[in-house]
Structures are given as structure tokens and as C-alpha cells.
């Protein structure tokens, strides 16, 4: 390397200057400015407010008991989180819950033993999820339209199958999963916690989780990097179907009977939970932790309002406002980190 002779630019050094790496954003800031943090703060605030509203509220056992009404949807919301991070959406899980539960009821009525009937239900979940996945990944249709279509289709099939009556008479050992406790924790809550940990690890430390984020960030780049985009999306839709059928069976056990309108309208609750947890609706960002916290936020708010004797209509208003606020926060945070 010969130095530059007679360099007229005195200020410029004559060798390459490798710039000192600037310090990245401080860690506390990275941690604080995350959608999950917002969810956590809301959760704390909601708990404090609810305890002020009613003295009964501050009982953990009571909260856990009340949570069983929402926990099935929260379990599905965990899988929905993965679907949304991958850049797709699935609006059909509630209908899948109904159809697979009705299939279970019908199979039981037809004389099949309960375990076989449960197998039928799970198989139905797999088929329904695969059908969604086929329409999205093979025919390349937008998932929002596809799953609105199948949400109506699956609910319609459930109605054809079960008619207007509820199918009951399930054996007593099957009924009442929400009354089985481990300590003070009802079994469905345990299932939710276990599923949260499992999916959180799946998303956080496995290569598949990483690829889900990559697909959601840029599907075209993911294809070019050799990621099997269609296979992974197909897997997610199937997982959504199977999880929905498990959730449907849990509802059947809790209610002791099934009807075609089981979990009616619950797709919105599921989306609400995922959004409250800070998952980005356009994909690529979000976490299971957020969805986990959001599920409890929903439980606290709904239970708190019921305890405080707030009418069901007003509860809907609060939920709607919450959803909008959470989307504004999430967007603001992501826009900030985008620069």
C-alpha cells in the first residue's frame, strides 16, 4: 500500500477508516418498547381496576374458574398467532370447532365408543385444515377470503349434521373437564399453559419458527432462500384445524352436549386475543408470550366487568375499543422500529 502523495484534501486520512461500530439501542429500551410490554401493562392495570370494582375479584381461584369460558379460544389463538405471523389468517377455527364437535356427537350417538368418536373429530380437524391449506397454498387464493368461505361452509355443514337440537347424553367421565382440578388450576387452563410453553419454544428456538417469521416478513425472499413456504403454511393450517377440533371437544366436555352454534362468533374473540398480544396483522412480527398475556387480559376484563355488573352490550364496546387501541399501539411501535 503506497500512501497518496500530495493529497490536497488535508482533512481526509489516507488509509481506509473502518468506522467504530456505533452502540446499538440500549437493552432496556429494546425490552420496554415491545407490544408484549404494552399487553403486560394493560393486564396489570386491568387487574387493579377490577379488584377495586369488586372485592370478590381478588380471588385467584375465582379468576381461574371464570377463565374456562375463554380458555378454549385462547388455545386456538396460540396457533392462530403462528398463522398470522406467517402472513396469513384463519377465520374458520370457531366453525371447525363446531363441525368437529358435532361430528363427535353424531359418531357417539351412532354407537361408536368415545375414543373412536374423538378420533373422528380430530381427523375432521385435519381434513378441514388441509382443505383451507389447499385453497391457500395450491390454488393461491387469499386466506382471508378462503377462510371466510370455509367458516360459513363448516358452520353450515355442522347445522346440516346436527340440525337444531343439541346432542347430549355424553358419559359422565367425559363431561366436566373444567371441574377437574390440579390443585386450584382447572385442567383446560393447564392445557393452555402447556400449549403456550410448547408453541413458544417452537416459535422461539426451532428453525421452523424462524422460517415462519421469515415467510411473514417477505414471502418472495423466503421462496428465493429455499424455504418451503407452501409446506410450512399447509402445516400451519392443518395445525389450526386439529387444535380447533381439540378445543371443540373441550367445549363439548364443558357443556356436556354439542350444538351447531357452538363457539358461534368466537373467531373474533380469537383474533382479538392475537391482536391484543401485539402480533402484527401483516405478518413477520408477534409472539406467543403476547398472546398468552392477552388471553389473561381478556379473562380479567370480561370477568371484572361481569363482577362489576356491567351489561354485556357495554362489555362488547370495551372489547372493541381495546382492540383498536392495541392495533394503534402495535403499529406505532413497529413503525418506530422500522426506521
Amino acid at each position: 500500500m503506497n500512501s497518496i502523495d500530495k493529497n490536497p484534501v488535508a482533512a481526509a486520512p489516507s488509509t481506509v477508516v473502518v468506522r467504530e461500530a456505533a452502540a446499538p439501542r440500549p437493552r432496556w429500551q429494546v425490552l420496554l418498547i415491545r407490544p408484549e410490554t404494552v399487553t403486560l401493562i394493560l393486564l396489570v392495570v386491568a387487574t387493579i381496576v377490577a379488584s377495586r370494582l369488586s372485592p370478590f375479584f381478588a380471588d385467584l381461584g375465582f379468576i381461574l374458574e371464570s377463565s374456562t369460558y375463554y380458555i378454549e379460544f385462547a388455545i386456538v389463538a396460540l396457533v392462530l398467532t403462528l398463522v398470522i405471523i406467517s402472513g396469513e389468517i384463519d377465520l374458520s377455527p370457531a366453525a371447525q370447532m363446531a363441525l368437529s364437535a358435532c361430528l363427535f356427537g353424531t359418531a357417539f350417538k351412532a354407537g361408536l365408543p368415545i375414543p373412536v368418536a374423538m378420533g373422528v373429530s380430530l381427523l375432521a380437524g385435519l381434513v378441514m385444515g388441509a382443505f383451507n391449506g389447499f385453497l391457500v397454498t395450491v390454488l393461491r387464493l387469499p386466506s382471508i377470503i378462503v377462510t371466510i368461505g370455509t367458516l360459513i361452509l363448516y358452520r353450515g355443514l355442522a347445522q346440516v349434521l346436527a340440525g337444531d337440537k343439541s346432542i347430549g347424553g355424553l358419559p359422565s367421565w367425559f363431561v366436566g373437564i373444567d371441574y377437574r382440578m390440579v390443585g386450584i388450576v382447572p385442567v383446560p387452563v393447564l392445557v393452555f399453559v402447556a400449549a403456550s410453553i410448547a408453541l413458544g419454544l417452537f416459535l422461539g428456538i426451532t428453525i421452523y419458527g424462524r422460517q415462519i417469521y421469515q415467510i411473514g416478513t417477505s414471502e418472495i425472499a423466503a421462496i428465493h432462500a429455499g424455504i418451503r413456504v407452501r409446506r410450512i403454511k399447509m402445516g400451519l393450517f392443518i395445525a389450526s384445524g386439529i387444535t380447533s377440533s381439540i378445543a371443540g371437544l373441550m367445549v363439548a366436555s364443558r357443556l356436556g352436549s354439542v350444538r351447531y352454534d357452538l363457539a358461534s362468533g368466537a373467531e373474533l374473540t380469537m383474533v382479538l386475543i392475537v391482536m391484543l398480544g401485539g402480533t402484527y396483522i401483516f405478518g413477520g412480527r408477534g409472539s406467543i408470550l403476547g398472546t398468552f398475556l392477552a388471553a389473561w387480559l381478556l379473562v380479567i376484563i370480561a370477568t371484572g366487568m361481569t363482577v362489576a355488573n356491567i351489561a354485556i352490550n357495554a362489555q362488547l364496546t370495551v372489547m372493541g375499543l381495546l382492540l383498536i387501541v392495541s392495533i394503534i399501539m402495535t403499529n406505532a411501535i413497529y413503525a418506530r422500529s422500522q426506521r
Partner: protein, 508 residues
């Protein structure tokens, strides 16, 4: 000459992104009626400076005076109101709207509920396109236009808004020589009208042809502003890179082995037909031609992004089927795509994640990601390719274009491909980093890899290729050995004999 009052005077402009300072204390005056070049390596800060003037970014520190008055440029629309227009590197337009509609987008004025006067709109659009002397039908959708024509529409839009300062960020990157001439004619006329033009380009001959003064950036600092005539090319390059340039254009004769990739009668109707060629181990085969000749489509077909309808691809003499990129990667093929922003990077994800995206087996042998392995691979790549960044955990979108491109190349080098397809690997990359890329490409070939290099830059093709294939309108029109290759020979084969693209002069 009388002392001109500057149109723009920027003082002490600094800008940081995510903790990395990309501009430091830049002072710059722009005179009315001058064409001013901004030069520098990628990441030197020239585009950032231009974007600050255009209201895309706000400076962290510093002031800007426009016509003697202190101004705050808060947004692109604010810049437009002040008479500043930025013409983007890649035309940003609305592909489904007509040319005429695109021309009026972003213009101030008009009533919110006013009726659109289509006839007047078309008339005004035709007038504007007439000024540029380019025959474009203003009623067709933008989608149908070539990149060059889209660029012309962008320029017409700047004219329509009657701007005092027009910033052109690499306007010639996608243009043919003739189109560049047309553009220069327009730039000269704008200068005569007393407008100021900022011209960002990596091509020194263009800067020399059109620019009155140049300002050179390096590592976020302004190094010098001088009249173009006072600097030689060597002066400019030395100031840009701060070190002497290696003679990268000389490559030793590499060892060429057996045929690695062979393509027979490859056809995708509407894109390319009956493509036949071989690439041997250790050989760099150039693929030249005009933009839109079908070169990228052939690359995408081989890599399985958009497979061919018929024909055979052979690897090491054995026919293979490639339905999707995963198949191609499994066969040892890698493609560095032309469109880095869309098909290359995961913008919001970390550099580390981006670099290891194509080697899941290496970072997660049993499905679980080994952070330490991943970090080591990423760090090694960063050092080897000299990627400039703050930390491998920062989002790749925060890096400059050249460093993003290095990261994408790093991704494919980790996959250790036998066959490497490079589609415009140095587009929009400055001379210093280009030299690094050329060295790396040479080394890869010397290591026994078969390389297919697609490039629109003739000197690049000539310098690197052992053999040059030329495509024109979807057909292979020439296979020129290194000894016989020349710019004339390539252009001769690249220009279609019949049809609308006929270029007079140089190519004939």
C-alpha cells in the same frame, strides 16, 4: 462571473439511523442552474443527504436554507411545496393507473370533490411527455412500460411540478445509452432554465458528461466539492475510497473443468425460447443483453422460481427436475437475485438471520437453532466480506445497499454452491465495493465453481467473463469467446434486428 447566491445552503447536516451515524456535519451549497454530482461509495451518505433535502428523512442536526430563507423540510410533500423533487432510483409509480394519472399524482392543487377532467389531463400529460421528446402513449397503464420509460414519466412528473431543485438518484441505472442521451438533453435544458439538479450516479463518464461540480462523500463525511474539470477520474476514485484502486480488471486464466450446468432447448413461452448453453467448472460465463431480453427469466427458470415449460437442465451431465428453489439449492445451485429489496433481504430481521437463511441444516442440525453457531457463521461472513454494520443483530434494512448485497452474497456462500448465478450483482454499487465483488467472483471461479453472470454493464462482462452469451428478445443470439469479445460485438447481438427497440449508431 458574478458571485451567485446559492439556491440551497446546508450547514452542519448530520443524520443517525439506529445509532449508526451515516452523515456527519455536512456543509454544502448548491447554485442555481448547476448540475451537481454527489459521489461516494454505498453507505457514504450521498443518498441520505439527497433524501434529507427531499424531505424523506429529517436531519438529526443541522440547518437548510432555501433561497436565503431557513426552511424545515418535514415531508416529501413539504419538499414538493418548496419546489424540491426527488426522482427515485427505482421508479415508484402506480402500475395499474395510466401514465397520465401517474403524472399528476402528488401534485398540489385540485378540489377534493372536483371532477377529473380526463381530456385535459391527457392533453397536459401529452404536453409534458412532448417536452421530453419521448413517444409514450399516456393512456396506457404504467405496468406496460419499460423501466426506462417509467423513469421518463418520473422525470416528466418533476417537470410538471415546476421544481427549482430536482434530485435524480441513479437515474441512468436501467437506461440504454440512447435513453441516457435523451435524459442528458433534458437535464441540459433544465439547467438552462436555471433549475438546480442533483445527479447521483456511479458512472464517472456520465458525471463528466453532464455535471458542473461534484461533491464527494466518504463514510458520512463530505470530502470535497470541486468543479468537475478540476478532477481526474483517478482523483475522484481516490477520494471516494481513500485508497489506491487495485487493477481488478485483470483476471488470470482460471482452470476450466467439466461441464457443471447444461441447458437444452429451455423454453417458457412469452419469456424465452430454445435456450442452449453450458457452464463449466471454474468458468465465468457472462450473459449480456438489453434489459427485458429474458436473461433474468432464464435465471429464475434454472433456479426454480418460475420453471420453464419445456427443455432440459443437466447438472454434471445428469438431467434434473427443478420445481422450486429448494430443489435447485439441493442440487448445489445458488441465485443472487436482481431484485434485492423484494427477493433478497428480510428487511426487518437481523443481519444474522438474513445471512443464515439458506442454510437451516447448518444452524439447526436437529431443528433447534444453535445461536452460537449462527452467530459465528454470521460474524465470519461479516469479516470475510467486510460488511459494514454496528452489530449482526441489527435489522438488515438499516444497512446501505452495498452492504445488504454483501450479506446476500454471504448467505449463498455459506450454502457452498457448485453453480452460482449472479443477476446484476453490482447494480447500484460503488466502485470500491464493486472491486471487492469482482475479486470475490474471480476467487469463487478459481475455486472450481461454475458462474453464470448476468450484467448490463459491458465493461463488467468483458472484464470478468471467460465467455459471453448474449440474449435478445428471448433468444440466445451470440456465444462470444473472451478473445473476440468487445462492447461492439455484444451490442451487435443484443440489439433486436426488427421491432421498436432498434437503436441507431453505435450498435450497427
Amino acid at each position: 462571473m458574478t458571485e451567485l447566491r446559492p439556491l440551497v445552503s446546508a450547514r452542519g447536516i448530520s443524520k443517525s439511523f439506529g445509532g449508526v451515524e451515516v452523515l456527519r456535519n455536512v456543509d454544502l451549497d448548491l447554485l442555481p442552474g448547476e448540475v451537481h454530482a454527489l459521489l461516494g461509495e454505498n453507505g457514504a451518505g450521498k443518498s441520505t443527504f439527497a433524501k434529507i433535502l427531499a424531505g424523506v428523512h429529517r436531519p438529526t442536526r443541522g440547518t437548510i436554507e432555501l433561497g436565503g430563507k431557513l426552511v424545515e423540510i418535514g415531508s416529501p410533500i413539504g419538499a414538493q411545496r418548496l419546489g424540491i423533487t426527488l426522482i427515485h432510483q427505482e421508479p415508484i409509480s402506480f402500475p395499474d393507473l395510466s401514465v397520465a394519472e401517474n403524472l399528476v399524482i402528488g401534485q398540489v392543487g385540485g378540489k377534493p370533490l372536483g371532477r377529473v377532467r380526463w381530456a385535459e389531463l391527457a392533453k397536459e400529460a401529452r404536453r409534458l411527455m412532448g417536452l421530453l421528446n419521448v413517444p409514450i402513449d399516456v393512456t396506457v397503464p404504467m405496468r406496460g412500460l419499460s423501466i426506462a420509460d417509467q423513469q421518463m414519466v418520473e422525470i416528466a412528473r418533476a417537470l410538471a411540478s415546476d421544481s427549482r431543485l430536482i434530485i435524480m438518484d441513479e437515474p441512468t441505472a436501467a437506461l440504454t445509452p440512447k435513453e441516457v442521451e435523451t435524459l442528458f438533453g433534458i437535464v441540459r435544458r433544465l439547467r438552462e432554465e436555471g433549475r438546480t439538479i442533483i445527479f447521483i450516479s456511479h458512472r464517472l463518464e456520465e458525471v463528466r458528461a453532464i455535471c458542473d461540480r461534484v461533491t464527494i462523500f466518504r463514510d458520512g463525511d463530505k470530502i470535497e466539492t470541486a468543479a468537475t474539470t478540476n478532477l481526474t477520474d483517478a482523483d475522484i476514485i481516490r477520494r471516494m475510497i481513500g485508497r489506491p484502486v487495485a487493477d481488478y480488471l485483470h483476471r488470470g486464466v482460471g482452470h476450466v473443468g467439466d461441464v457443471a450446468l447444461s441447458v437444452r432447448a429451455l423454453t417458457l413461452p412469452g419469456r424465452f425460447e430454445n435456450i442452449n448453453f453450458d457452464v463449466r467448472k471454474g468458468e465465468i460465463v457472462g450473459l449480456g443483453g438489453l434489459v427485458g431480453a429474458g436473461r433474468t427469466d432464464v435465471a429464475r427458470a434454472i433456479f426454480g422460481v418460475a420453471p420453464a415449460a419445456s427443455g432440459v437442465i443437466e447438472i454434471d451431465g445428469k438431467p434434473v427436475t427443478i420445481h422450486e428453489p429448494t430443489d435447485a439449492i439441493g442440487l448445489g445451485i445458488a441465485l443472487v437475485s436482481e431484485d434485492r429489496a423484494i427477493a433478497g433481504i428480510f428487511r426487518s430481521l437481523s443481519v444474522e438471520t438474513n445471512i443464515t437463511a439458506a442454510v437451516p441444516k447448518q444452524i439447526a442440525p436437529n431443528g433447534i437453532i444453535r445461536r452460537a453457531v449462527e452467530k459465528r457463521l454470521a460474524q465470519q461472513s461479516v469479516e470475510k466480506l467486510r460488511i459494514r454494520l454496528a452489530t449482526v443483530r441489527q435489522p438488515i434494512g438499516e444497512l446501505s445497499g452495498g452492504n445488504q448485497q454483501k450479506a446476500i452474497l454471504a448467505r449463498w456462500l455459506l450454502a457452498e454452491p457448485d453453480i452460482l448465478i449472479l443477476d446484476e450483482p453490482t447494480r447500484g454499487i460503488d466502485i470500491g465495493v464493486k472491486a471487492e465483488f469482482y475479486d470475490m467472483i474471480g476467487e469463487l471461479a478459481a475455486g472450481g465453481r461454475a458462474i453464470l453472470l448476468i450484467s448490463s454493464e459491458l465493461p463488467e462482462l468483458l472484464a470478468l467473463s471467460d465467455r459471453i452469451l448474449v440474449m435478445s428478445e428471448g433468444k440466445l443470439t451470440a456465444d462470444i469467446p473472451r478473445a473476440e469479445a468487445s462492447q461492439e460485438a455484444i451490442m451487435h447481438a443484443a440489439v433486436p434486428r426488427t421491432g421498436r427497440h432498434t437503436v441507431s449508431g453505435a450498435a450497427a
